[in-house]
Symmetry: D3
Subunit: 199 residues, 6 copies
């Protein structure tokens, strides 16, 4: 049976979902898992606060359970990894958060990693999360561009889980590897499915 | 105007709330803040999983916002500190989680602290939280008694946020200080209010 | 029997003791423990060096033992926590250092804490202490105002253990919680006594 | 042009290389990069000591440079990641070590990871490496099965970089995710190539 | 002018001082610094508690200042390094504590170091100290032999700062390097003097 | 029999070896171990990259084994400590790396240590090494002077393992202790031999 990775954008901004879908196109493999990208209708227009983060967990969990039947792996496409541990607990399939996945992939690319954040007020939240993952010694810094997700949507720039289109340009400009967290998570999901499918 | 500390038991077990109220009786001060203990009607009978933790944040936040008018400080009486950062962000008052408060008070009592947990499966969750707080080096260990909150309620023992009645006995038996996290949080809330009330 | 918290200023500057007493006035509770503030006559005018810190331990310990009979809890009101572990070992009552207590209370107020120091040369001493407490990951920084305790006494500013009168103004100005370590320690002492008095 | 991942077994045991090739079969994608597995002729029969580790770097580097023309990514298939930083410095392509890759993938699977080692004497070497990666807080333990690589080859078990065939059985038996480091590294190499190939 | 290293045993047990002197005999160099070993008359018979540690700082400092004129380096021969930072601050010469020196030398001998303690109650004190030095990740363990210094004196074994005579036997028995902290400190003092004497 | 410390400069620059020999002159003791300084003929003119580091391990090991008969202790005189663990494993004598030794000695001189590096690109390598040693909390910083070893040789300044002649001047200028890592390593080697020679 065909496998399917379900990538959920926990904000309700369809444009962000579109960017996410575009970002993972390059990962689609003939004969490989289907990669579906969905929008969490109940999500806020952008996830910019801790309250936003916490409030999407319930609808996200409901969506995941509703979809669990035809789904082989689940990706939470928001850099705060909302509900990651709940979904892992509740679902009988691998679940990936884009922040955790992005950090994991970045660990193989250089001595330390930095974070490009949307808003400054997210930085303490990121720092707590990085600390909880035991990765504090690898974090070089965290810089915010200070544009809200809505502003990003009006500009031609679509935010935290939809920045993949800037990855290459940034990487060339900076001369260091740049990881897009959505691509990291979907890639790790795909890898995990390939390995589990093995006889 | 009289100040008020609202202590919310995020599970729906009224007996646990009763134990919480009993635990903080000794902290009531004539002329000091009122200490009210409430039950989160929407909560599960016991908070035993990550899903339980995440699912109570929304009703907890709604309750806190509903009650915010006559409230001076808020205490989340569950050892997983559900919603702590969301409530801090959303409310214009000090918010205390019983785990964080218990750890903080314990830091002044000895070189390292241990945790008595209800269920073994909570231990990784605790460990992540202690790590996110940067307190890993002070954690001596975490032992579970392996009784669910419901079982605890049927026995004469009322669980995580309602174990204060065993504090003294344990302390005498072990010969080391034992901290009840609910008492720690309410005490720190009270202290904070006293200091903020200062001209 | 009435309980009593003895707060000792380990420098011999009575004006600092006066500031300490003023700082804890707001914590006095009708029917609660008496809070007495004493000056260590043998102390130097200000505790500004490691030698000062180490030299006050002996007279502090003697004072504490002399006073132990009518005392329920002891507070060492100097930000270097001189003699904290000795007094804990020698006295059969809870002992609080204002630095440790200040850090503990600060942990419940935000993601990281900073220190306002009197003199730059104290910073390595603080850093060692914070490291020994395992709290290095929570320390955001340490800034010195570079005024000796004596200079502070001649100005209208009375130093490390007597800065409480500036707390509120600083907090309003900075827009983040400011903790006065003397108030933190006396508050934690009071909380501990309330809890231990419980039947 | 077709991309190619070159996986080099730094020991000279062809049977181990055969196991490596078998391990990554499931990762081959129609139209995806070729995955070639090579044996380092100059390597020792098994890499069991620090001297073995250090001595293979030079021939490994020579092989990598010789092969660099038609190669898109390089995988060092020995759990000590010999020469990882040298190859990254010398080659103009992504280089993966199986230990680093295995740790990175494992970080997305659970709270902590453990290591199954061949020989006890490798454990301090692993611990130093995990520390240098800043991952010490995530390491649960390291257990050795105490069979040399040669012994492993004579049994039907082919060692550190060739244990993939036991992954599934171990995972089912233990009830926790088991990561094969060769598969992790080749998977991350493939993912990286897919992403870099993106227009 | 001849240089002189003054090694002070901060307990008043002359037998321990004799052992210390014997321990450093092998370090004496013709034409090198004189190594004098002194007993702190005001010290307790053994330094077994935090109070003992703190109480010897003042007489130790007085002794050091009295002797500073003809002294080039100072060694504090007690494993709690009493007064180390005070003496460093007050004296214009290098000061060595035997614990800090022992740890430093041990770092060059293996992946982690262990501590053989006299009494179990010293272990939390050691752990705090190791943490304050930032060396926690290198500490393998701390085992107490549970004999007080006086008991050790009556047996043929002379305690924390006088165990050098057992070093070799232990090392041979255990098959791992064993460091005597007094020898480490005096050796490092001597090395430092040699280097500072350099034109 | 006379003991001998063999100090090997792993780059092939004889001038650096000359500087090393000059640096350790002050450590020679009448009747003490002979200190011989040798140049690794197979080494590159300067060790400036990870490849240089890894490539010298094999000839260094061969040299060490060839010389092991008349040698009592071995010092690797390059700040990247190439081959340290291999030589420790392969030789039946104490082996010292100058970086590890320099850090160890520096730990006894102040609260934190800094590193003066030759080239900026070495800093991540240093940071990984310091992390692997568990000393990250003691590292204050790492500054590069940005001159290659060859450039240093043409100037009157002879590089990483040959900077001892600047130690004193730097120390006086900065007002803090400055450690030359070659001197630290040879001093620790000498101390270790003295102690092992003890009956």
């Amino acid at each position: 049976m065909t496998q399917r990775i379900l990538v959920v954008n926990p904000n309700s901004n369809e444009r962000v979902t579109g960017e996410i879908a575009a970002a993972v196109t390059c990962l689609r493999i003939a004969g490989g898992p289907i990669i579906d990208c969905a929008t969490l209708a109940e999500g806020p227009p952008g996830i910019e606060t801790q309250v936003h983060v916490d409030m999407v967990v319930e609808p996200l969990l409901r969506l995941a359970q509703r979809e669990s039947n035809g789904t082989s792996a689940f990706v939470i496409a928001c850099f705060s990894d909302p509900g990651l541990y709940s979904l892992r607990e509740a679902l009988d399939m691998p679940v990936f958060g884009i922040a955790e996945s992005g950090f994991s992939l970045a660990l193989t690319k250089g001595e330390r990693f930095g974070i490009i954040s949307i808003l400054r007020r997210s930085i303490p939240r990121h720092r707590r999360y990085v600390a909880s993952l035991g990765l504090g010694a690898r974090l070089a810094g965290d810089r915010a561009i200070e544009m809200g997700v809505s502003a990003l949507g009006q500009a031609d720039l679509v935010g935290c889980a939809g920045m993949a289109r800037y990855r290459k340009a940034l990487q060339d400009r900076l001369g260091i590897p740049v990881v897009d967290p959505v691509q990291a998570a979907v890639g790790l999901a795909q890898l995990t499915l390939q390995l589990e499918a093995q006889a």
